[in-house]
Chain length 336, copies 2
């Protein structure tokens, strides 16, 4: 039998685990990696940051739209971005894979390679996991991180007068999803890539935390929805200039321009899964934060101000833009 | 609409999370619980122990055989037992729930209550999670723990001459599963309960670690299979007296006796999911460990000795007992 024809049923649970963990390099800060009842991860300041997410085949990813490798990278990225949004540095992930017995082993191995690659770029690693049989393919990722002695940056710390800043770019993932949904083959590859595998500005999390961020969240449901979560937790509102939101570069190209300003702005304001970081911080802290992020190649945009009251007051919003909203997995009709 | 008729589609992802986390009491050692991008859990000695497991409806549990509450308790228990098997004390769990939109909210709430109850008895808590829509019900649980300054007890530390000890009891879960599979209504409720929700001897993990355990594993695949994992990792073998294995009390009752000695012994040696703890330790350390566990109401049985070579040499095995083996999720034909 050729390797490409091997299924999980052929190699078995333990065979798959042996194949996958063989590619996982040990990393600093992991005294004990995969292979025992549990892993041991360093938590030098005496605290560990932890978050978990599920990704379901056909809803959170499609293997006909994304490579298995990109599915793995994206699964890691969305969890690692949650760690960054606390102002922490990712240290390790754990992965559960539920898969049909006839899943080709190469698919499982490619997912595992994508997970490892996204971690490795951050100096963290895959330290544990589980493999079970199920009718549908599903990934469960848990990420751990270190605050390095800082306080966690919660959603609830914004105060009136703080500036609203965004690290990373918005709208690319939604535009890519729209192009894939419409089977529009003229769309720029960069937008398809933005949907298949986000590029969260991980380093911005700890840097903004160290430079006075009062609240922070990552954009998974959409900028408007996620800033809304932050504002509700903080008990205040915000005035946001939609024209200042950092758009994905490819949204300025001819394909995106042809979709119309309302559609483009909708992607930027309401599109999810870019995993940009939205933070609030005192206005005096913004210039130093911009300079610090620029020094490591990351942009930081000041897009608005925290105000009394609740919700978001938009300025700079073109006419015809849909009401900014978020995403609820059980309520919306769209498959996602 | 009555509360019992509410589905996940009615309350939505955020509604369910709000309902479920409302019941989660904060615990010591959790500076930041559910509700932000990530939780923060104390790791006082600078290390965190972490493990993850998936449970699939129809394979790892059946809602017609177990209450949703017991499904939650079992999902927590099997992960918390992995933490104990490292010699660590559980500190927190994170839970992913993948569920059909028409799942009654009361089922999700009962699962969540079971998870919380199993944690609460140990002074740990549910600190985070995720809810997504999927065709099948699945739980992904990650457990964290603290070594409290001790070294982790790995599978690989057994040395020739060590004794093999077992905390907790064996065979109850397999007997209960057999009774449920056969729809045998004459089986003792205690055995059904042992399948529905294990009672791992959590406290034995840190106690055995503190008293010189050289290697440890929890029984999830079966005593023979899991001791086999430990011995392979340690590069040695063991001689085990099957007659000394601590059987579940209800295996001495008339129902179990009527199943035949070969069947009963098979449950004890090869049955999974009891989450007893199997450890190796120097013979001189055994009496003090037995006394220490007895003082907190836990039994510890000396069942054999680590020897040179590989595999398990059985003594005290009744004739007709099937070859001890383990469980591989993809290879075996049984639905599990």
């Amino acid at each position: 039998m050729e390797k490409k024809d091997l299924t999980l049923a052929d190699v078995g649970e333990f065979g798959l685990i042996a194949r996958v963990t063989a590619g996982y390099a040990a990393s600093e800060g992991v005294p004990l990696g995969p292979g025992d009842d549990a892993a041991v991860v360093a938590a030098p300041d005496g605290f560990v940051v932890a978050t978990t997410d599920l990704l379901v085949d056909g809803r959170h990813f499609r293997l006909d739209w994304s490579s298995a490798y990109d599915v793995g990278r994206k699964a890691a990225a969305q969890n690692l971005a949650d760690i960054a949004a606390m102002g922490a540095r990712p240290t390790a992930i754990l992965v559960g894979l539920a898969a049909p017995a006839d899943l080709p082993v190469v698919v499982a191995e490619s997912i595992a390679a994508g997970l490892a690659a996204e971690c490795q770029a951050l100096g963290c690693s895959v330290v544990g996991g589980d493999v079970v049989r199920s009718d549908a393919l599903l990934l469960a990722v848990t990420a751990l991180g270190s605050l390095e002695g800082r306080d966690p940056v919660r959603r609830s710390g914004a105060v009136v007068g703080d500036r609203v800043v965004v690290a990373g770019s918005l709208g690319g993932a939604a535009a890519g999803l729209a192009a894939l949904t419409a089977a529009d083959e003229t769309a720029p590859p960069d937008l398809l890539s933005a949907h298949r595998c986000p590029s969260p500005p991980y380093a911005a999390g700890p840097m903004l935390a160290a430079r006075g961020a009062s609240a922070m969240i990552d954009v998974s449901d959409g900028f408007g929805a996620d800033l809304g979560h932050l504002l509700r937790a903080s008990g205040c509102g915000a005035e946001v200039n939609a024209g200042r939101l950092p758009r994905h570069a490819a949204l300025s190209g001819p394909w995106a321009l042809a979709q119309g300003e309302d559609v483009r702005t909708g992607w930027v304001i309401s599109g999810g899964e870019d995993h940009a970081l939205v933070a609030t911080m005192p206005s005096g802290a913004v210039p130093a934060a911009i300079a610090a992020l620029a020094a490591v190649g990351l942009g930081l945009s000041e897009v608005g101000e925290v105000v009394a009251g609740g919700g978001i007051r938009w300025t700079g919003l073109p006419p015809g833009v849909p009401e900014p909203g978020g995403f609820d997995h059980f309520r919306l009709a769209e498959s996602r």
